[in-house]
């Protein structure tokens, strides 16, 4: 699972609805793998508005990944920014571990790079 996906996952346990707590999910025991991928700047620029930058920064800091605090005015022409973004969201994969909700403490497991977000009957 790349960080780009993690940036979109929210806790959806019943009654867990504090937006500040249910997102982003906090990693626990995350096994990371950097997989080099061809950079596509056009795609990165299109993706920027879809990202929750605040959440991405929180997660990057948690994992020790370099990411600028602010999105530049002109990202298309900022090579350093695009490289940092590319590495963070597209080349950083979480293979195993879990994601914990800061609101309700529910743990979602990641197995072989795929997150399991299914809930039990009583949690829905």
């Amino acid at each position: 699972m790349r960080l780009i996906t993690h940036n979109m996952l929210k806790c959806h346990v019943r009654n867990c609805d504090n937006p500040d707590k249910q997102f982003p999910l906090r990693f626990k025991g995350a096994e990371l793998e950097q997989v080099e991928a061809e950079r596509n700047d056009e795609f990165l620029v299109r993706m920027i508005p879809r990202l929750d930058w605040r959440a991405l920064l929180v997660t990057a800091k948690e994992l020790g990944i370099e990411l600028p605090e602010n999105i530049p005015e002109d990202p298309e022409n900022d090579d350093a920014f695009l490289q940092a973004l590319h590495t963070a969201i597209l080349e950083t994969h979480v293979k195993e571990g879990s994601m914990v909700c800061n609101g309700c403490n529910h743990e979602y497991k990641i197995t072989k790079g795929i997150p399991n977000m299914l809930l039990a009957e009583h949690e829905i």
Partner: protein
């Protein structure tokens, strides 16, 4: 002729026994996406979501249809074997992600107004309601009364999910009452048409395509 169908030969492995193998419904959806290639390329989708990806055949093909443009393609399925099969099928050049979840529940409102291409080949077979979700295998095709019980949970969310230029592709059979589905979404601001049809045995399959009406 046309784009190559994704290789799903790995589905013969025992670990993928519960995963739906591509069939006529799958191929009709591939054909509809391929026919819309000029429109899809012009749209420049950034985020695509396939709900109930099964083998991953459609997700993989969608990426090919969109090439050389790049899009994030998220495939969801409740069956963990299907998420793994999808990962194997989409193990090529592209940005593919899999998530084990029901519909897009794991994303909360993060995907609201954000899905540029939404694709769903639902469990559409008419069955008793008790058969829905009984086994991983049945979750792929058991659709309950009118074959609509699973789809009907998703339908109200579709208008919220689609981006301004977003499009939704759906497989139906006549028993699912496609005209009723079209009407339901029309009342919620989406214009729908049957873009392709095919008879496959006893099933009259259609691909419905929805976009936002002005």
């Amino acid at each position: 002729m046309g784009l190559a169908t994704p290789d799903t030969s790995h589905l013969s492995r025992p670990e993928y026994a519960t995963v739906y193998e591509p069939a006529e419904d799958t191929y009709l959806l591939l054909d509809a996406l391929e026919a819309d290639r000029p429109l899809l390329l012009a749209q420049r989708p950034t985020i695509c979501v396939e709900i109930g990806s099964g083998s991953g055949c459609v997700s993989s093909f969608l990426n090919t249809v969109l090439s050389p443009s790049t899009s994030l393609i998220i495939s969801t399925d409740i069956n963990p074997a299907a998420t793994r099969a999808t990962r194997e099928t989409t193990n090529n050049h592209g940005v593919f992600e899999q998530c084990q979840t029901r519909f897009v529940q794991s994303f909360g409102d993060r995907l609201n107004n954000s899905v540029d291409v939404l694709v769903f080949n639902p469990p559409y077979v008419v069955t008793p309601n008790e058969e829905i979700d009984v086994t991983e295998e049945a979750s792929a095709w058991a659709g309950g009364s009118c074959g609509r019980q699973v789809l009907d949970v998703l339908l109200p969310q579709v208008p919220e999910l689609l981006s301004p230029n977003g499009r939704f592709y759906l497989i139906t059979i006549e028993e699912n009452k496609p005209n009723e589905i079209i009407e339901f979404l029309e009342l919620r601001g989406l214009r729908g048409t049957r873009v392709m049809e095919r008879q496959a045995g006893r099933e009259h399959l259609s691909v419905l395509r929805f976009t936002r009406s002005e």
